[in-house]
């Protein structure tokens, strides 16, 4: 059983420029005292083809955790675009929010992220080399997996 249960994840800026940091307000419940910190990680799936291109955007230790309901804000930087294949930069991908205790994962929440050009012209004629400034990301907050 899990002593810690994620009650709510509130994505603070689901729609933002590609390079904006990711911000989550995470509320969780803890029913027994913990010896160690919890660790939260955000992973950006760079390419669907290989796991090697997954980027850990940030990792945050949370503690000390009192018994009860707690919350905190997890802020992670945007992915490094240079490590993402050009063809995968724009389009649908996934971010994974994982929760670990003593190095073992006990919860994982995934969100679809839609990276799309903001103006119609580039939408219709996507440039060869993606123009990141014109890309907006949209985390589909209502559809966690």
């Amino acid at each position: 059983m899990s002593l810690v249960r994620i009650l709510n994840v509130n994505i603070l800026q689901p729609k933002a420029p590609f390079l904006a940091p990711y911000k989550f307000e995470i509320t969780f419940e803890c029913i027994s005292p913990l010896d160690d910190d919890l660790e939260f990680k955000l992973v950006y799936v760079g390419s669907p083809k290989t796991k090697a291109l997954d980027q850990v955007l940030d990792s945050l230790l949370v503690g000390p955790v009192p018994v009860g309901i707690n919350k905190f804000i997890f802020e992670a930087d945007a992915p490094v675009a240079s490590k993402i294949p050009k063809e995968d930069l724009v389009g649908l991908t996934i971010i994974l929010l994982t929760c670990l205790y003593k190095g073992r994962m006990f919860e994982r929440i995934g969100y679809y992220v839609d990276n799309a050009y903001t103006d119609e012209e580039t939408q219709n004629n996507p440039p060869e080399v993606p123009v990141l400034e014109k890309v907006d990301r949209n985390i589909l907050a209502s559809k966690p997996r």
């Binding site: 009650l7 307000e25 509320t27 029913i31 949370v62 503690g63 009192p66 009860g68």
Partner: protein, 947 residues
């Protein structure tokens, strides 16, 4: 009688073979049956589906999967059945609560995630408490009547008792020398019976958790081994039935009589060891005119069940070969209002077995009779001092020992009336369901602290990793917090009377120079001769030589063209306005006018506005610009830039005294009634009573307060250095720390100054002790259950002060570190200390309302804790001389101080202690374990008050 076995009711480990069911229990309303199995799961079944054998309704309501070992026992709490307690092989006791907030949508999501409709739960139950402490398998759990306690026992030979509200551990009973395999609470609430493989049944008192009796005889000849030995009490409390007893090699269930604890009776007939015995929780009356009789079910390893009536020597029913393996547990349910007629179902008995099946036996009225009413059942228990019954359930007052005196009953009645009144007059805000969705809860946080803003920011750890302390939102499940939620509400006094707080318009920033010395800088200052102090004031010239040597420098107000202040008194408001104009013949003009609310206006007043009438009273012309101005309904005080202080009568403008000559510039000036407080630029504080021209506080340095702020925040300030005495003013060291800014200066009712600092500390100068007392501190009691409330509510003077200080601190972006991790016992101790501190602080502040409020809270808390010594000392202190004369009164009595002269102060703040005593006695009477004390004091008090 009808026997039903539902073939679908099973715990499937691998969908093929049904695994053993170790325990089962009916929900008090009879709609659910909980079964606990070897597959580590607890399943909740729809009772109606078992009885009706329908397929339409959901059969399985929920599957509870949080144990990591075979679940040995599951028991619903009494009353509303809000909780389900379970114990398992993983040494853990879990307390489950239904998550009402789990919406359709959420469940659809779960369904999707699970990918199978079979396990689709219709109810979500979540563990809300995880009780650790057993060192081996947990064999049995039991709720005390009224859910006051939860007890658990196991293969570590110990019995643990937990508080039924907070789930703190209250006792650990270790007398058994072998596995403890079952336990049960006396329905009257006085005893706990535990049964063990050491062939004893032990009876423990719930009042002090000491052993009342050890029953050995019926078990001496028992050579059998059973999974469990769960005792069961008769509904009238007269007998406790024990499993696995033997009467001359014959396996029996023993009936042990209350009080004598003699095993008078045996239920004989089973061929093999008796594994389970359970009394029906309700007595039955076979015929309307007959005495009620108790019904007892016995299950044995011979796979059969017998049902006995205490009025008959032979069993009513024997159901042989119900199972293909050992029977393990029994559970009864009596429907609340069985329909009339001889064939109406009046009771269900469920039995579970090692073969993984459950049998349900239904009994008709013609077999058992009519269940007795709740009142009658309570009346039966009353002779043993019980009788709270099930109906009171979760919200019940604690099950109490019998009231022994009329006084006790009278006090309880008083208390009840008071509570009723409070419930009517005050909105109860804890009525919200305890397990509401956290987002909703989060938004219900105090508005002045937006969640995002107050969120702690991550810090880097030594290893370079980001770490953040989460923000505590609320405790779990609403179990422990009911009391603090309600009680402050219930006794919240109205913010009556005008507040005399005079908040400084700006923070008074302070500079602290040099080391801490007992007499501040005044001793040496005369020796030093450093003249003018350019940086200090505005365009000022102060002859205060002490400034150069002083260790404290407070910023002084700048001279502005117009200063206003409006002291209020009821509907009359004086407004004092000072006009500074250096070019005029007189440097300043002080005008006083009176405004009254229109409805009270007398016709003679000329100027009229919408709501107010203004009447000019008097004007004073002064030779120098006014730097600070303060007023009250009786007094107007003005401090000029030459350091002189002028007092005028507020109504007539008559001068009360020649100008006072101050040592330094005025940093802050305030008035209350006839008191005038002056804090000068070198950190000396004086309070005078202008009506009799007496100094109440004479040049007391506030330096200690600033220094202790430094010590409290060592990371922001280096440790205090020795500043040489010739420290020149030209180098006003940048020692200013935001930590020690003074945020508010007030005068208490008795003239004692009250200072609030930006780091959340509040000090009051105690006139008797002649020193500063710290009455508010945001850090010391962070673990207290009332900690949050102190900041959130501002109905009282004390808490307003503390809240003010705390909020300022937040604005200052000095985030508190996380509340420390406290165990429940630590927390309750901190809470008690916090309340005592608050009471003493309220007393020191002279805030009578607060004294009453915290006396109430403390009394409730003490009643909950039941700590006799503590209560006795407090009561003795409240009652005073006739009682404590003979005994040695401790110098530190409960209010924190005592008068050296009489040994006893007759009042707290302005409230006589004996009246407080009269007030708290009914509260303490809530705990009948304290009744000898309460009764004694009540009687003495009445005698004293009438004489």
């Amino acid at each position: 009688m009808r026997i039903t076995k539902a073939d679908w009711l099973r715990h499937d480990a691998d969908k093929k073979k049904a695994t053993a069911i170790f325990s089962l229990d009916f929900h008090p309303d009879g709609t659910r049956l909980a079964t606990a199995g070897m597959d580590n799961k607890i399943r909740l079944w729809n009772t109606a589906a078992i009885v009706e054998q329908t397929t339409k309704e959901p059969r399985l309501l929920s599957t509870l999967t949080a144990h990591n070992g075979a679940v040995m026992c599951a028991r619903f709490s009494h009353g509303s059945g809000r909780y389900l307690a379970s114990g398992a092989d993983d040494m853990i006791v879990l307390v489950w609560e239904r998550d009402e907030s789990a919406t359709e949508e959420g469940m659809a999501g779960n369904l999707e995630a699970l990918g199978s409709a079979d396990d689709a739960p219709t109810e979500i139950w979540r563990p809300v408490r995880r009780l650790t402490g057993h060192e081996s398998d947990v064999c049995d759990v039991a709720w005390a009547p009224g859910n006051r306690y939860l007890a658990s026992c196991g293969l570590d030979n110990t019995v643990l008792v937990w508080d039924g509200r907070t789930f703190d551990r209250v006792a650990r009973l270790t007398a058994h020398t072998q596995f403890v395999k079952g336990l049960a609470f006396d329905p009257a609430g006085r005893f706990l019976a535990t049964q063990s493989d050491d062939k004893t049944l032990r009876i423990w008192r719930t009042s002090d958790w000491q052993l009342q009796s050890t029953v050995e005889r019926p078990f001496q000849e028992s050579i059998f081994s059973t999974y469990f030995r769960r005792p069961s009490w008769a509904p009238d409390g007269a007998y406790v039935a024990a499993a696995n007893a033997a009467n001359g090699r014959v396996p029996v269930a023993a009936l042990i009589a209350r009080a004598s604890w003699a095993a008078d009776l045996s239920l004989v007939g089973h061929h093999a060891a008796v594994e389970a015995v359970r009394f029906c929780p309700r007595a039955f009356r076979p015929q309307p005119d007959e005495e009620p009789t108790s019904v007892c079910a016995v299950g044995a390893q011979d796979r059969s069940v017998t049902v006995w009536l205490t009025s008959q020597p032979v069993p009513l029913v024997a159901a042989p070969n119900l199972f293909s393996a050992n029977l393990l547990d029994l559970a009864w349910h009596v429907p609340a209002n069985p329909p009339p007629g001889p064939d109406a179902i009046v009771a269900w008995l469920a039995a579970c077995s090692h073969d993984g099946s459950v049998a349900l036996l239904e009994f008709e009225r013609c077999e058992l009779g009519t269940p007795v009413s709740n009142e009658e059942q309570n009346a039966m228990l009353a002779k043993y001092g019980g009788g709270t019954g099930d109906e009171d359930g979760d919200q019940a007052m604690l099950p109490q020992p019998i009231a022994e005196t009329v006084t006790q009953l009278r006090l309880e009645e008083q208390q009840q009336k008071r509570e009723e009144k409070e419930q009517i007059t005050l909105p109860v805000d804890d009525a919200v369901p305890s397990n509401q969705q956290p987002p909703a809860d989060a938004s219900a946080l105090p508005a002045e602290a937006p969640p995002v803003q107050a969120m702690p920011t991550p810090v880097r750890t030594a290893g370079g990793r980001k770490r953040v302390a989460p923000m505590f939102v609320r405790p779990l499940g609403g179990i422990g917090n009911a009391t603090p939620d309600r009680t402050p509400q219930a006794v919240a006094s109205s913010a009556a009377g005008p507040r005399h707080a005079v908040e400084a318009p700006e923070w008074i920033t302070a500079q602290v120079l040099g080391t801490r010395q007992s007499h501040g800088g005044t001793a040496e200052c005369s020796a030093e001769g450093a003249p003018s102090v350019q940086w200090l004031g505005p365009q000022t010239l102060v002859h205060a030589q002490s400034i150069s040597a002083a260790r404290v420098h407070l910023s002084v107000p700048t001279i502005v063209a117009r200063l206003a202040c409006t002291p209020q008194k009821n509907t009359t408001a004086f407004s004092l306005i000072a006009y500074n104009d250096t070019s005029a013949a007189y440097a300043s003009r002080l005008e006083c006018s009176v405004s009254q609310k229109a409805q009270q206006a007398s016709p003679t007043l000329s100027q009229e506005t919408m709501t107010q009438l203004q009447n000019h009273c008097w004007t004073k012309y002064l030779a120098r610009p006014i730097m600070a101005l303060a007023g009250s309904s009786q007094l107007a005080a003005a401090s000029l830039d030459d350091g002189s202080l002028h007092w005028f009568d507020a109504e007539s403008g008559a001068r009360l005294a020649p100008p006072l000559t101050a040592e330094a510039h005025t940093a802050h000036l305030s008035c209350r009634d006839s008191f005038c407080l002056l804090l000068d630029a070198v950190g000396q504080l004086s309070v005078w009573d202008t009506s009799v021209l007496v100094a109440i506080v004479d040049k007391v340095s506030i330096a200690p307060l600033l220094y202790s702020a430094e010590l409290a925040a060592p990371e922001t300030l280096p440790t205090t250095e020795d500043t040489p005495n010739d420290h020149s003013v030209s180098a006003p060291g940048p020692r200013h720390s935001p930590e020690c800014a003074l945020t508010a200066v007030e005068i208490g009712e008795t003239g004692a100054p009250i200072l609030s600092f930006s780091d959340g500390r509040v000090f009051v100068y105690h006139l008797g002790l002649r020193t500063w007392l710290r009455v508010g501190d945001t850090k010391s009691y962070r673990g207290s259950e009332f900690y949050v409330h102190a900041a959130a509510q501002s109905t009282s003077q004390l808490e307003q002060l503390q809240a003010l200080a705390a909020r300022k601190r937040q604005n200052d972006n000095t985030h508190d570190t996380m509340a420390p991790l406290l165990s429940a016992t630590e927390r309750s101790s901190v809470t008690l200390d916090h309340l005592e501190h608050q009471l003493a602080a309220a007393d020191a502040l002279g805030a009578t309302e607060d004294v009453l409020r915290f006396a109430d809270l403390l009394a409730r808390r003490l009643a909950m804790s039941g700590n006799r010594l503590h209560v006795a000392r407090w009561l003795a202190d409240l009652l005073g001389p006739p009682l404590i004369e003979g005994t040695c009164c401790p110098p530190n009595s409960a209010d924190g101080r005592s008068n050296a002269v009489a040994g006893w102060r007759p009042q707290l703040a302005t409230e006589p202690k004996r009246l407080i005593l009269r007030r708290v006695l009914p509260l303490l009477a809530a705990n009948r374990h304290l009744q000898p004390l309460v009764t004694e004091y009540s009687d003495v008090l009445e005698a004293l008050l009438t004489s």
